[in-house]
Symmetry: C2
């Protein structure tokens, strides 16, 4: 069994953007922290919802018909199958939850390798 | 589809302790906020892990063989089947994730009714 996970300490261990690090497991899901900056790719996850909680900074989650802006302390769940593009004007830190093995781009060919830290 | 969920705004809507409010759904799980103070009951969830993230304050998660102390920005997942007792000396605010319908005490007879806000 793990010990307490300090999210800021985990985030201090890396500087790359859009490269989620696994910090815990929950019922077959990866709980991850990620640093983001700039625009990600448009993508969807056909089989899973996508959980975002902003820990620091601010992001836009662009949907095809609107934009959901999230500041620190705000969360949003993108429903399965819904196309979205996260965009961060400045660096932001996020907590993500996805079923283990979910490709972050929606496509295994282009997905980041998720490392446990 | 929901809009952004501001966790502090949700927490400002109620004052009762140990009574989780549902703020979002993720793949059949309830994402909840809760205010806690004092000691909860010893319990376990035989079929599910139990996700805790401290948003404000500090809690101890007592396990039978040790205590995991969590401050704001720290998280812990109690594995399925593991007995635990959350204790908060002063009021603390938590984000919880559990499969929809999980009794917070481990026992449907004594569980809080979880309301969506």
């Amino acid at each position: 069994m793990q010990d307490a996970v300090n999210l800021a300490e985990k985030l201090a261990q890396f500087n790359t953007h859009w490269s989620p690090r696994i910090v815990a497991g929950y019922n077959g899901n990866d709980v991850m922290v990620v640093k983001v900056q700039g625009a990600f790719v448009w993508h969807a996850h056909p089989d899973t919802d996508d959980f975002f909680l902003v820990l620091k900074g601010e992001i836009d989650i662009e949907l095809r018909d609107r934009v959901v802006t999230l500041c620190a302390g705000e969360m949003f769940v993108v429903p399965a199958g819904v196309e979205h593009r996260p965009v961060a004007r400045e660096e932001a830190h996020l907590l993500l939850i996805e079923p283990r093995g979910t490709p972050n781009t929606g496509d295994p060919a282009t997905a980041a390798v998720k490392v446990q830290i």
